[in-house]
């Protein structure tokens, strides 16, 4: 049995908007084992990024708990939490905005060592340079780039620097928040391969957020589909992509354009994701679902295991 790195239970995050409550994430639970990747997919506004930030405690959760390597992350003291946080890192979508623009590439990568100098011991200049050089080799940034500034690099190279910085302290868990969606296809493939290689080398666990279903299928071992703050389906990747159970997952799969020789008809669903301020009663997907019954509009479906390892929240499978 592999070691469970992250155990999230009933995480909720409500934001206050005026006098109303916006349920960005509502009762999400998942486990991530060592060396595996949880892919999170969903439309914009489904709460994917909020979930990632809550798991890392970058924004405090309204309720729920995250157990990280056997410790209840949210209940630790501030200092302990800070120490534990070295084990978890994040790679952001926009590589340029997440790097310090006034610091050179090497200074950007060295920053984690400097921030954590108390715990790691102050490193000498030579040691620091060596570590930075090792990290740059690891992610494939040429050493000549050590003294250039982020704006001089291309998007793909910037993202590599972002990954190098995230890996500086040898984390066990890395959240990738749409790391490839702003990159070109050929560069995207390079970054995906890099992430996979790093996972094999260091037994990393990823939580990989993306809206591109093909990318998620490629990199994940498990996939969670989110809709309006809730996980509607969760299964191992192959199982989910071969037998999507929830109507929303099916629709998502159908909407992805496929490479074809003779052209295809598009069979998307009508309408857009409703406002999370005012989610529909009952099943949240009922306004756009083709299988919607009266029960769906009144009673919220329970999230349960339909087949071994395959969870979904839909009345169709009662």
């Amino acid at each position: 049995m592999a070691e469970t790195i992250v155990k999230a239970r009933d995480i909720s995050k409500y934001f206050k908007v005026g006098h109303r409550q916006l349920k960005a994430v509502d009762g999400v639970s998942f486990d991530i084992e060592r060396g595996t990747t949880l892919g999170v997919v969903g439309e914009s506004g489904s709460g994917k990024s909020t979930l990632a930030r809550v798991v890392l405690d970058l924004i405090p959760a309204t309720s729920g708990s995250v157990e990280f390597m056997g410790k209840d992350f949210f209940k630790l003291s501030k200092n302990e939490r800070r120490l534990l946080r070295r084990e978890m890192q994040i790679v952001f979508q926009n590589p340029f905005l997440s790097l310090f623009p006034h610091m050179s590439v090497s200074a950007n990568i060295a920053e984690p060592f400097i921030v954590n100098r108390k715990e790691l011991g102050r490193l000498s200049k030579a040691e620091l340079d060596e570590r930075v050089a090792d990290l740059m080799d690891l992610v494939g940034v040429p050493r000549e780039h050590a003294n250039v500034y982020p704006h001089e690099l291309s998007g793909g190279q910037q993202q590599r620097v972002g990954i190098a910085r995230a890996l500086a302290l040898n984390p066990k868990f890395v959240v990738c928040d749409e790391p490839v969606s702003s990159l070109d296809v050929s560069i995207q493939a390079q970054i995906l391969n890099l992430l996979q290689d790093l996972q094999d080398q260091k037994e990393l666990s990823y939580m990989f957020i993306a809206h591109n279903l093909a990318v998620v299928e490629h990199i994940s071992t498990h996939v969670a589909v989110m809709y309006l703050g809730k996980v509607v389906e969760y299964a191992p990747t192959q199982e989910l992509y071969r037998h999507p159970l929830h109507p929303y997952t099916q629709v998502l799969m159908d909407s992805v354009p496929k490479l074809s020789e003779g052209g295809t008809e598009f069979s998307g669903i009508e309408g857009e994701i409703p406002s999370p301020l005012d989610p529909p009663k009952g099943c949240r997907f009922c306004t756009r679902c083709t299988h919607c019954t009266k029960r769906c509009t009144e009673e919220e479906p329970v999230y349960k295991e339909v087949e071994p390892g395959h969870f979904t929240a839909c009345h169709l499978y009662d």
Binding site: V185, S186, L213, A214, E272
Partner: protein, 405 residues
């Protein structure tokens, strides 16, 4: 034989810096006199954004232009639209013919055209008659291409009111129809509807409904910020289609959208194309989107065409190493490869393109010849051309003999 809508022949768009003028003295527009072989103009490096782009587009046909960012696909169409034109920092050569009319009006002799500025003004005026009416464009980011201070209704009917002649004609036709059907009473009853503004408004409302915006009557008076991303893109489409264009240019219309909304938008464009037999140029970096409804494809890299051909040929047997790399590095739903075959390296700096084939630095099958000479066009099957030495056959030996001897 289908009618040819657009013919682009050997289009070049080059950019320079503003401080370097093309001519030596002020007022002398040497831009026309520069030979094509002289890539550099005084003192600065030229960015050759588009180099020798040629294609023809028939009525009702859909062409995809595929490439990475910086490959010149957007500049290519903005030149066709006249949004990029010759000036102090830009140089456009080549020929763009739209329904038999020369759009670039490149004058070979500057004296013939008189003053450059006057010439440009005439050109712009002529262009406005076409732009928005016969050629229209959908941009990638709908928020930055809609005017945030104008209600969307006004923005949608704007192209109609710009081309009043056509609108007047349509109103006259409608009047005749009413007169024939219901006599003078009918004409009197619809008097208000026949006013130019109201007529345009009715057209706009109908179109908004067609592109799938619920309750168009109320939405007509909303501002762009009140719409979601997908809805804004629908508004853009309505705006582009209101003049019944012969050619619709869609510049990455779905890149910023979710998959479900992307499918909706693409199906709207597809339906409109079928109904009105519009020709479409779709610019995208997503091969799957391109393959889903385009008949032909052009693959561009660093401003040059790498491969062109029918979509079916291209997907079945891509010939250029870059096209193959592009197809291999695209993750596809349901494929079980453990690793993607990425193209190594970075796209070249447009100011310092390598001599020879621009892809040579990243190509796994690069030969010595590739780094020296730009590859010639080779026809594989009718309509399927590739620019690569690998496919050039005996031309390689000829060239090598040429260089050695």
């Amino acid at each position: 034989m289908a009618e040819t809508i657009l013919e682009v022949n050997d289009l070049h768009t080059w950019f320079g810096k503003k401080k370097y003028r093309f001519g030596k003295r002020k007022g002398e527009f040497k831009v026309y006199r520069f030979g094509k072989e002289k890539g550099q103009y005084k003192g600065g490096k030229v960015i050759r954004a588009v180099e020798g782009l040629s294609y023809t587009l028939n009525r009702g046909e859909a062409l995809a232009i595929v490439g990475e960012s910086g490959s010149g696909k957007s500049v290519g169409v903005s030149t066709v639209m006249g949004l990029t034109h010759s000036g102090p920092t830009t140089r456009v050569t080549g020929r763009v013919t739209f329904k038999g009319q020369d759009l670039l009006n490149t004058v070979s002799d500057p004296k013939e055209a008189g003053l450059f500025k006057k010439h440009a003004a005439i050109r712009e005026k002529e262009f406005r008659a076409i732009r928005g009416d016969q050629i229209s464009m959908i941009f990638q980011d709908p928020m930055s291409s809609l005017n945030p201070t104008m209600k969307i209704g006004r923005q949608i009917v704007e192209p109609l009111l710009w081309h009043k002649g056509k609108l007047r004609q349509e109103i006259q036709d409608e009047k005749k129809r009413l007169l024939n059907e219901g006599g003078k009473e009918a004409l009197k009853a619809h008097r208000k509807d026949l006013r130019m503004r109201n007529f345009a408004r009715a057209r706009g409302l109908k179109l908004l409904e067609e592109v799938g915006i619920p309750s168009p009557e109320t939405r007509f008076n909303n501002y762009p910020f009140e719409f979601s991303g997908g809805m804004r893109q629908r508004v853009m489409i309505a705006m582009a289609l209101i003049g019944d264009p012969d050619l619709l240019i869609a510049d990455e219309p779905t890149t910023a959208l979710d998959v479900t909304v992307q499918a909706q938008i693409l199906s709207i464009i597809q339906k409109m194309r079928k109904r009105k037999n519009t020709s479409i140029i779709l610019i995208t970096h997503d091969l799957a989107v391109a393959s889903s409804f385009c008949d032909r494809v052009i693959v561009m890299y660093a401003g040059r065409v790498m491969e062109e051909g029918s979509m079916a040929d291209f997907i079945r047997c891509p010939a250029h190493p870059y096209s193959q790399g592009l197809l291999n590095s695209t993750p596809i739903l349901g494929d079980e490869r453990a690793r993607l075959e990425a193209i190594q390296g970075q796209p070249p700096d447009p100011r310092n393109l390598p001599s020879g084939c621009p892809f040579s630095a990243r190509c796994t099958k690069c030969m010595e010849l590739c780094t020296r000479e730009a590859p010639p066009k080779t026809q594989l099957t009718p309509g399927h051309n590739v620019y690569c030495w690998l496919c050039a056959g005996e031309k390689v030996q000829e060239k090598e003999a040429d260089i050695n001897g």
